[in-house]
């Protein structure tokens, strides 16, 4: 997926000015940046929720189609059960109820919610609700995955447990993903590449990470150095 000389402004506030960025097919691009510098705008442009004022968002063939969006908050239908929240995301693509049920149950099992299928969102903890949202985003047969700080409001243990669940599912069916976060460490833990926003004309920093996600240690010197550069770029912006 490529953002080619994209421009976008909200009134006088210019978010992107002939901004270009590439996300390689079936990889995760982690995007960090201060508030108001276009992280969510980037996701909205990628999803088609908003149009660019200029330039183009070009998708590869394998990225054209439905989008899975993991929001900051779980955005579950409060009157639908855990099972129904996931199953509903399959209705547009799968007409057989049995198949839909199998797929929904499978993803809910992977995120550890098999025993909670008949509960409603209000009966779950914040972490469990976000697990349902993760299951839904993978169950939905999408070509592109967009994550808007989905682990932001969770404690560190839960955050890493959910990131682990996310990686398990993502490795099963990799798809082009843009992962927006405030946290440089989170970006380095999940991204195949990281970039830092802060300049409307282009990323302040872009770096591929070759080490597979599962093999990344918290004391890896190269990753610590990258984290340092990201923090500097963030502070500089």
């Amino acid at each position: 997926m490529r953002f080619v000389e994209v421009s976008k402004a909200y009134g006088d506030h210019v978010v992107f000015d002939r901004f270009s960025l590439e996300v390689e097919v079936e990889t995760i691009l982690a995007v960090v940046g201060p508030s108001g510098q276009g992280k969510t705008t980037l996701l909205h442009l990628a999803s088609g929720l908003i149009e660019a004022d200029g330039g183009a968002v070009i998708k590869e063939e394998e990225e054209i189609g439905s989008v899975s969006y993991l929001f900051q908050e779980p955005r579950l239908i409060p009157t639908a059960t855990v099972f129904r929240n996931v199953e509903l995301s399959l209705r547009s693509s799968e007409s057989c109820a049995t198949v839909r049920s199998q797929i929904a149950r499978y993803y809910l099992e992977v995120v550890g919610l098999s025993d909670y299928l008949s509960l409603y969102p209000a009966q779950l903890s914040g972490g469990m609700r976000q697990r349902v949202a993760i299951a839904r985003s993978f169950a939905h047969p999408s070509r592109l995955m967009l994550l808007d700080e989905p682990f932001q409001s969770l404690d560190i243990k839960l955050r890493y447990s959910l990131m682990d669940a996310f990686l398990t599912l993502w490795n099963e069916s990799p798809k082009t993903t843009i992962f927006v976060t405030h946290d440089p460490r989170e970006a380095i833990a999940l991204g195949n590449a990281v970039c830092c926003l802060g300049d409307p004309t282009g990323p302040l920093l872009y770096q591929r990470i070759d080490t597979p996600q599962r093999a990344r240690g918290i004391d890896d010197e190269r990753l610590l150095a990258l984290e340092g550069r990201l923090v500097k770029a963030l502070l500089g912006s």
């Binding site: 239908i77 009157t79 059960t81």
Partner: protein, 257 residues
């Protein structure tokens, strides 16, 4: 424990009302101005046994039910349209504002000029109840969580699926509140309209006939019948709401097995 306390408080309060009534009746000492509890209850037993009782009660219930159903259906449809389309809301606005402001008696009197006595209660109840429910549904539609609508768009939850699993459940609190208020209003307006128009059958008509003959005990007895009807209607409504919620939970549980 809390519900026991609440029930006890309601019972004591009701008992207090009856005591005030009886004390007032004893002090006034006039069966025409305020008959005591005993004579009124005796009269109540008498009118229950009389021929026109069942016909009058059934006629009032039928009118109330008809008016209520018409209000629920029309106000729900118009409320959704008003919430969804600002132009429709603007068109409805003068009607709704006028209906909310017009005194109930004006509507009944005008309706009596235009319709027969049997139709007046229905028409008046509709005009009084419709705006209440319309406003609830319209504002309910506007308060539907926009972020969930965006989620439905992205996850392609559309058409009937969206209507059944998202839109209608999101509107249920407004529908229930609107219907509850409309129902209690319907009883009052129906009976008031019956009092003024005196149809052949109706609780209000019986009240009016008793009042003309200065039979205060009968007026109060029919008032008690009206109170019981309203309370029974409210209870039935709450039971239906609870039953539907239970049914939904049961169906949801079965489908996840």
């Amino acid at each position: 424990m809390r519900s026991v306390k609440r029930t006890l408080a309601i019972l004591l309060s009701s008992l207090g009302l009856l005591v005030i009534w009886q004390v007032g009746s004893t002090l006034i000492a006039s069966q025409v101005l305020l008959p005591g509890l005993g004579p009124v209850l005796t009269t109540l037993v008498t009118i229950v046994g009389e021929g026109p009782f069942l016909g009058s009660v059934l006629a009032t219930v039928a009118r109330a039910l008809q008016a209520f159903l018409i209000i629920v259906i029309t106000a729900s449809i118009c409320g959704v349209l008003g919430g969804k389309y600002p132009l429709f809301s603007a068109i409805m606005s003068p009607f709704v504002t006028t209906l909310k402001a017009v005194p109930v008696m004006s509507i009944i009197l005008l309706a009596f000029i235009w319709f027969t006595s049997g139709e007046v209660p229905l028409f008046s109840a509709f005009l009084m109840g419709f705006p209440v429910m319309y406003v609830q549904v319209e504002s309910g539609w506007r308060t539907i969580d926009g972020s969930l609508i965006q989620m439905c768009d992205l996850y392609e939850i559309r058409g009937l699926d969206r209507l059944i699993h998202f839109t209608i459940p999101a509107l249920v609190p407004s529908l229930v509140t609107g219907a509850r208020v409309a129902l209690s209003m319907v009883w009052k307006v129906i009976i008031a309209a019956e009092v003024l128009t005196v149809p052949r059958f109706g609780v209000g008509a019986r009240m009016q006939l008793a009042q003309v003959q200065l039979q205060t005990d009968r007026v109060l007895s029919w008032t008690l019948v009206a109170i019981v009807l309203t309370a029974a209607g409210d209870l039935l409504f709450e039971a239906c709401v609870a039953l539907l919620a239970l049914l939904k939970r049961t169906v949801d549980r079965r489908r996840t097995r």
